[in-house]
Each structure stands twice: as C-alpha cells, then as structure tokens.
C-alpha cells in the first residue's frame, strides 16, 4: 500500500515537472526504476479519491451516478443513427442538417456537452469523410456517446491524417483510387459526424429500420453502412 502511494505520487510529481521518468541516471543496483512502477490498483485509488471528494463536500455521489448512468444508458450512437436515418428519408431535413448542423440537431433535442457545434459531413460515391482528433480525443458525445478505446489510441490518432486509406483498409473499407478522402481533425470546439451513404436496396425500409443499420463506426467514417443480409458489421 505504501509502495502504491509512492508510485502514485511520483507520477503526480513528475507531471508538475519536478521529476522525469525517463533516462534518469540510475545506480548500479538499478532500484531507481521504482518510480516507473505501474500506477497500481486504480480501483483503490479512485475509491480513496471519491471518499475524499465526498467528505470535503466537493461532489455529490448521486450526481456522479447520474453522469455515469447518462453515458452508460442514455447517450450513445443510437442518437446519431436517428439523425442519419431522418436525413436519408427526409431531403429537407438533410439539407438543414448539412447547412446548419446545430439547429437541425436541436430538432432532436441533441446538443450540450461538446455537441453544440457539430458539423455533419456527407459521404457520397465520390467522397469519403473520416473524423479524428490527433491532439486528444474530441468526439461528438451527445450524438455518439463516449468514444471507443481505438478512437482515443495512438495508432488511430497518429495515422488517420497521414494514411487515412491505410486506416480504412484496416477497418475493412477499401476506397477506389479516385475517391476523394477528407479527414476532419477536431482541433477546436467543433465536432464532426459523418453522414454515411444510404445502402442500396434500403429504398423500402422505414426510418426506424434504417436507424438500426447505422453504426457508430459508420458515423466516425471508418465503416460503411450495409444491409443486414450483406454480412455482419463490425
């Protein structure tokens, strides 16, 4: 437990520039590696922090529960999927959505945290859009919920801008050489949602049935929307 706390504080201290964890000259006994110890059990650390925050009156545990509950049960890719399906069946809505995402999304009641300035970009047979945040992990929370680990990871963030076609191939999407790829790097407080192509053969489907086809990945731009019988989606 003592080691735990020390390792934990070492990392805290390092972040404020007091210590560095790299290439520090180390003695022959090599014990200097201690400070690189894994941040031990986060479960215990978070429990201890929460009890401190509650005891100091800095947070209301019920409010914490509500935040977790919101993203675990209420806000997720189904939000974005409803918008996409509506745009597919309602050309007037689609025009509003592409021209002024903010207002069109408000028609669904979507907005708020990081969503108030969402831009919707449309895929066509000639144009493919891909969304990334190279600097951190910005993502349209109100429309897609919290991002998956791969979206937040170094491999995706690093390569999406320099090798979008290679990234797409890794996701199983192969683009023709003459398609235009547009990568949207979310460097400010704008968020991006891809309006995928409506799959051929879906002409007779209802808005609800269409919404069920639309995946999170398609709205990030790393997948296309397929009809169910055409094979399993990622």
């Amino acid at each position: 437990m003592d080691t735990t706390r020390r390792g934990f504080l070492a990392s805290t201290v390092a972040a404020s520039g007091v210590a560095v964890t790299q290439n520090v000259a180390h003695g022959a006994d090599d014990h200097a590696h201690d400070h690189q110890a894994l941040p031990s059990d986060p479960v215990l650390r978070v429990k201890s922090l929460e009890s401190l925050l509650v005891e100091k009156g800095l947070v209301d545990p019920a409010a914490l529960d509500a935040v977790v509950e919101t993203y675990e049960r209420k806000v997720g890719p189904r939000n974005g999927a409803r918008v996409v399906a509506r745009a597919w069946v309602d050309p007037a809505y689609k025009s509003r959505l592409l021209a002024d995402g903010r207002s069109a999304l408000k028609e669904f009641g979507y907005g708020g945290a990081t969503g108030e300035d969402t831009l919707v970009v449309e895929n066509t047979p000639r144009l493919h859009n891909l969304v990334v945040c190279t600097l951190c992990s910005c993502y349209p929370w109100p429309l897609l919920g919290l991002p998956p680990v791969w979206y937040k990871s170094a491999p995706y963030r690093s390569r999406a801008v320099i090798d979008p076609r290679g990234v797409l191939r890794e996701f199983g999407v192969t683009l023709a050489d003459d398609v235009e790829v547009r990568v949207w790097d979310s460097t400010a407080e704008l968020r991006y949602l891809v309006l995928p192509e409506r799959p051929t053969g879906s002409e007779n489907m209802s808005e609800e049935a269409l919404a069920a086809l639309v995946t999170r990945d398609a709205m990030v731009g790393v997948a296309q929307v397929a009809l169910p019988q055409k094979g399993a989606q990622l």
Binding site: L49, Y71, A113, A154, R157, E180, A188, L190
Partner: protein
C-alpha cells in the same frame, strides 16, 4: 507544446486495436473518473483547456503507459492540487485536512443535467473581426509555444485554404493558462494531403483543421 500528445503523422504506434461490443466503461472506476472530471469543473478552479493541457504535461513515459482514464485520473489530481482544490496530503491520505469545513457541491443530483451534462459552449458572442475570408489562401504559422496550443505540428508552415468561418470562440492558448479568453474566429482550413505529406499522398485528398485566427497568416 510539441509533446507526444501531438500525434498526427506519427508512425510505428502499432495496429489499431478494435474491441467488439466495447462497453462504455471497462470498469466502474473509469466511470467515476469520468464523472469527477465532468463535475469538479463547476468549482471554476480550472477550465477545459487547462484540463486538456494537464494531460499534455504528463511525462511521455506515463502518457504512453497509462490507459485513457488513468491519464484523466492523474491530470485531475494534478490540477486539483495545483489549483488548491485539494492538497497533496489529502490525496495521499484520502482524508480532508484536519479542521476543513465541509463544502456544498455546486453540482448535485438536482442540477446535474443542466450544469454538467450540458456543458458550456466555447463559442463567444463577441463581435470580433475575421482576419481571413472563405476561399482565402493562408499559411499556418511556424510557432512552437511551450504552453498549450491546438495547432498541430504537422500543419505548421503549411499552406491551405479557408473553407468555412465557424465564428468566434475563446482561444485555448491563453485560456489554458488563465491568461484570458481572447475570443477570435475559428476557421475550417483545408490542406491538401500532398502539401502536408508530400508527393506520395493522393492529389485529391484533403485534411481539414479548425484553426484560430492567431494561428494563421496570409499565404
């Protein structure tokens, strides 16, 4: 800051690790860390940009070793200590400093929806004049601030075209360091893939960045 967080264009990070049916949180503690971050901001000891910068300040070895929510946990503790919301001793012991009066949380179950889940916008109503117009050719400045910035290294000194004017937003470079909001226009700037990455890129491909007025100069 030219840090390891500025990942655009890096190679050698390994394959993308896709998890099927990924849960929102992989463990309850991740949810708590997320919720701390979403609610403690209401104490107004810091802002979103300062908080982002907190992750950038992690030593590279820690940045790469930690999972996403471990980074969030560490930056939260760091910024709580540096802004005086908590003391190092409190974090270490898990107990409030002796004699601390109990505060009243600004965010409770009663107002959490409006106060935390719907976050304040970074858009500003200020009537700031735009220095650039849609269609204009611009160059991202070759700037290398040691503090927070949202101009990635890969776009610096590169030329692009203003695609859209998003309007006026607070400026992260100053906001993150509590030096004022300096509201200014943000533009979507299109850079051709070849301008950024050379002749091996496809000529029709483009990368769009949302860049602040202060990041740009006429090309």
């Amino acid at each position: 800051m030219n840090g390891v967080h500025d990942m655009g264009g890096q190679q050698g990070m390994g394959p993308i690790q896709y998890e099927k049916n990924e849960p929102v949180f992989h463990a309850p503690w991740e949810g708590r860390v997320y919720a701390f971050n979403r609610t403690l901001g209401a104490w107004r000891k810091w802002n979103l940009d300062a908080s982002r910068h907190g992750v950038e300040l992690l030593p590279p070895a820690d940045y790469f070793r930690m999972s996403y929510y471990e980074r969030w946990l560490t930056r939260l503790i760091n910024i709580s200590i540096s802004t005086g919301l908590l003391t190092r001793e409190e974090v270490e012991s898990g107990k409030p400093a002796p004699g601390t009066a109990k505060a009243t949380p600004p965010i409770t179950i009663a107002n959490v929806e409006a106060a935390a889940i719907i976050r304040a916008s970074a858009r500003r109503p200020d009537a700031v004049v735009a220095r650039f117009a849609v269609g204009q050719k611009v160059r991202a400045r070759n700037m290398n601030p040691v503090g927070h910035t949202r101009l990635p290294r890969y776009a610096r000194a590169k030329s692009g075209v203003i695609d859209r004017d998003h309007g006026v937003f607070l400026f992260p470079d100053t906001t993150a360091h509590f030096l004022g909001e300096k509201p200014q226009h943000v533009y979507s700037v299109r850079f051709s893939a070849r301008e950024l990455w050379g002749e091996e890129a496809k000529p029709q491909d483009g990368i769009y960045l949302d860049l602040f007025d202060d990041y740009l100069e006429p090309a």
